[in-house]
Amino acid sequence: MDLLNSETAEVAIVKGETPKECVLNGIDQLGGISRYIDNGDQVFIKFNLRLPYGFPTNTNFDVLETIIQSCNKAGAKKVYVGSFPFKGVTIKAISDRLGLKRYFESIGGELAFLDNSNYFNMKKFDSEKLKVIKNRSFSKINVNNQTFIVPKVILDSNKLISVNQVNVDPLFKRRLSLLNSYSIVPNRYQEILRKGKDLLLNGQYKQDLISNIIDVFSIKKPNLVINDLFYILENAGPFIYKDSNLTKTGIMVLGNDAVAVDAVTSKIMNLNIKKNDLILKAEEKGLGLADLSKIKIIGENFENIDLIIGECTNKLDEIKLQNFSIKTGYLCSGCFKQAYHLLNLMKTNMTKDLKYITPNNSFLIGDDPPDPNNISKDNIILFGDCAINSTRKREFKIIVKESKKKRKYKVNKKVLKLSGCPPDIFKCIKLLINYYGKKDLPMLNLYSETVASYTPEKITKKLRIWEVL
């Protein structure tokens, strides 16, 4: 039976003592792996691979191992695993830091270097050679008048499996499988093309993002989808922050329809599916079923499951930073998301620094933000192009020095501009260190040096060249 064309969306809700047991239970409930993998198939497993840090920043590797081994048992010819990571980080850097290449080889899989970063360190590899390799490894796909480049290894695979670690998310509340699919394209193609104030209208950034996600998802729908809720990162996520907590539910949701799997997952997590624009849009485009009455749900009874998960804050000023006051104007989801991550990073990695820096610091974000508390004394950080542009003529931009004879106007050097739409977090960190000085931000400086150890300038440059090619 061709499951992709089948109208029946089947979703299994399973419990287990361990993640491995849970995923095997789930596959069994759905009829076994042979229902999805045929002998001789090339399989691509799309998992979460974001940063070179521990669980749950990335997918649970025990779960991945189980799926790879199951695919091999079903007679798969080749099992690739991969994903595009966080912007500015290469797959090779993560693989080296976590020992992934050799690990996947030892369990019967192969890590796909989708960004070709396995070539970046090689000698005599100039941009021309990189271009040739890139052209060889990607196909251009046109969806809704937008061109995406997609790795051939994904397109050419007979079967696609999506394994998604469910964590809280500041924009979408939960990172579900539809969001996981987005990183089958390079980071450059994940960026929203529209810039500027237009994004502020009616949540345009989020709408554009959702459209993009749906377009990418439609390129290749997964045959088997696994939402791993066995452990969920709550309170602050999807990366490990100071306020983050890991909660154990012991549950996984698996199925043959990503939209259905996400709908059922949302239901058991007490989220209102009707308010989930991503799921609704996917259903509207005919990419899957979100109506629970039309989904065949097997395994545990979802009426009996009621998971209460601590949400990410949806107000930036609720992220309490010592000696900082956060002033928000009208902001789009893009800046909200980036600011959320930056402020949480600061809270997690600057505990000592936040005491050292002067007590008066204002973080202004969004269009037309309120003025800082103390215009003359505060260090003022303007986050994002909207904040920078809308405060051009504000009083705090100029320092007035009055003497007996005349008035002098000087540019306020205490204003730091973190430009971008939205700004890049790693760049923001470097600018903050330059602004306050390494002496006053020893912990952030140490964190920045640690990040630099896996994003060395030489490699970052190559990545930028590759992305532009």
Partner: protein
């Protein structure tokens, strides 16, 4: 019996009529003044065990269905055992006792004793017959043991009590719960092996520790003459040493003790501070949270930085000399141990563990002993196998250490292939699930760290300390696979710039 007799007559004893013979602290070979033993029980028992009077000891059969002996201790003051009476065995019915939940049995025992003996007990101590046999065996030749041998035997006894479930206290004091949970979580790792491991890392030392309090000042003398099992421990009061503490300054007292006991160093602490730290430690719940370990480290570091506020030392370490520090500062290094950042260091360690290893992880810790292996090239096929000593798999779940599993050497090494950390990681991952990291550390490095950064942290020997720091870059002594970002940073930076980077975090700029 001597102690019971002393305790019951403590009020009539005066300075001249005190016991001229020393008494042994129960279950130890430590002979000391009767006053000290009385004080220890009077002071420590209520804090750590039970602060109410009267204790009932019960000896039961190994299968728990018969009472073999009932002993009632009458304590006018909590913890001070004065007299005892043997009660009839059939006084209390032991049928259906649930040793894991003794609340009902305790209530029954309490009401029976109230009714029959008009005495209210505050706690029960239950020993299975096997426990009594173990105690009796423990006591054979106890007086002749040196301190090291005593510690090994005592740790073994305690471990047996909890592993074999043969000793119970009700209500359970925190120290009992802590020790029980600690032993059970070690999953068979012997406490005495751990003690031996750390003891052999210490070089020879001769220290005296003054534990100050308003009631009674205690003086400990701990000495290790050479490497091996030659560890001695003695306990005194100032009066024992002929020192009059009336109106004496701390420095003078410490100098006098240094001379009397011929100690290299003398430390001065307040008993209450140590009790407070121990109380916090005993309140820890298992599985251990990394957050709780962070708080303990905070307290220890805060104590350390409070030199000359909360603790003192003679001779005064040169590192605290202002001129010396000023000169070091001129070279760009701020080394003020009085401003060691007691909160930033644990915070940094905890957030590094969380991000690098994850909130859930399995980490394999391998201990090697390179000094025992002299032949062969370091990268030889069997090198790791030959220098291997121990391995532990530490499992963390949501920032709690939930399992510590000793790993057999056979599980680690594959015959006929190059055994390195990578192959070990795959081997162990096959059996136990994905292993996040393998950390290899050599005994030589642990020796250096303990001696340079723990026992002699205050000693002014910058080059020797830098040398110890540099040893972390030697892959034969310390290695992590895969190379986590923090480790990669350490390996990629020069010692000077790394020291500068880290000291800015480790030393506070201002007093908070």
């Amino acid at each position: 019996m001597k102690i019971l007799n002393y305790n019951s007559n403590i009020e009539i004893f005066n300075e001249s009529k005190e016991l001229k013979e020393g008494v042994r602290i129960p279950l130890t070979p430590i002979k000391t003044d009767g006053k000290i033993v009385y004080y220890l029980f009077e002071f420590l028992y209520p804090i750590f065990i039970n602060d109410q009077q009267n204790i009932l000891d019960i000896v039961i059969s190994d299968n728990g269905d018969e009472i073999l002996k009932l002993i009632l201790y009458d304590t006018k003051k909590a913890g001070v055992h004065e007299s005892f009476q043997i009660l009839p065995k059939d006084l209390i019915d032991i049928q259906n006792i649930d040793l894991d939940n003794m609340n009902d049995f305790f209530n029954v025992a309490q009401s029976v004793l109230m009714e029959k003996n008009n005495i209210r007990i505050s706690s029960l101590r239950i020993f299975k017959n096997k426990a009594i046999d173990n105690i009796n065996n423990f006591c054979i030749g106890l007086e002749d043991l040196n301190f090291y041998e005593f510690i090994l035997r005592f740790l073994d006894l305690i471990q047996k009590f909890f592993e074999q479930n043969i000793f119970f206290i009700y209500p359970e004091p925190n120290i009992y719960k802590f020790v029980k949970n600690l032993i059970l979580s070690l999953k068979g790792i012997k406490l005495n092996n751990l003690f031996e491991f750390f003891e052999e890392k210490l070089t020879a030392f001769n220290v005296s520790i003054i534990l100050n309090s308003e009631k009674l000042i205690l003086i400990l003398k701990i000495q290790k003459i050479k490497s091996g099992s030659d560890l001695t421990f003695k306990l005194y009061t100032p009066r024992n040493l002929g020192i009059n503490v009336e109106g004496i300054s701390k420095k003078r007292l410490m100098n006098q003790i240094k001379v009397k006991l011929k100690a290299e160093k003398v430390y001065f602490f307040n008993q209450n501070h140590l009790i407070s730290l121990l109380s916090y430690i005993f309140e820890l719940e298992f599985p251990l949270k990394i957050e709780n370990l962070k708080f303990i480290l905070q307290k220890v570091l805060f104590g350390f930085r409070s030199f000359e506020n909360y603790w003192y030392m003679v001779p005064r370490p040169k590192i605290y000399n202002t001129l010396r520090r000023f000169l070091i500062r001129l070279f760009g290094t701020n080394l003020n141990l009085k401003k060691i950042s007691h909160w930033a260091i644990p915070e940094l360690i905890s957030s590094s563990i969380n991000s690098n290893f994850g909130l859930n992880s399995k980490n394999l810790l391998i201990l090697t002993n390179i000094s025992k292996y002299k032949k062969g090239k370091p990268m030889g096929l069997n090198f790791l196998k030959k220098v291997f000593r121990n391995a532990l798999l530490i499992e963390i779940e949501n920032r709690r250490i939930i399992k510590i599993i000793p790993i057999n050497r056979n599980d680690l090494f594959v015959n006929g292939t190059l055994n390195n950390l990578q192959t070990i990681k795959f081997q162990i991952s096959e059996k136990y699930g994905f292993v996040s990291s393998v950390i290899k550390i050599d005994s030589l490095l642990i020796n250096e760290v303990i001696n340079k950064f723990v026992s002699n942290l205050s000693k002014f020997k910058p080059f020797s300390k830098l040398k110890a720091f540099k040893m972390f870059k030697n892959k034969n002594l310390f290695n992590i696979y895969p190379e986590i970002p923090s480790y990669k940073l350490v390996m990629g930076k020069g010692i000077k710039s790394l020291t500068k980077l880290i000291l800015k975090v480790f030393i506070d700029k201002h007093e908070f």
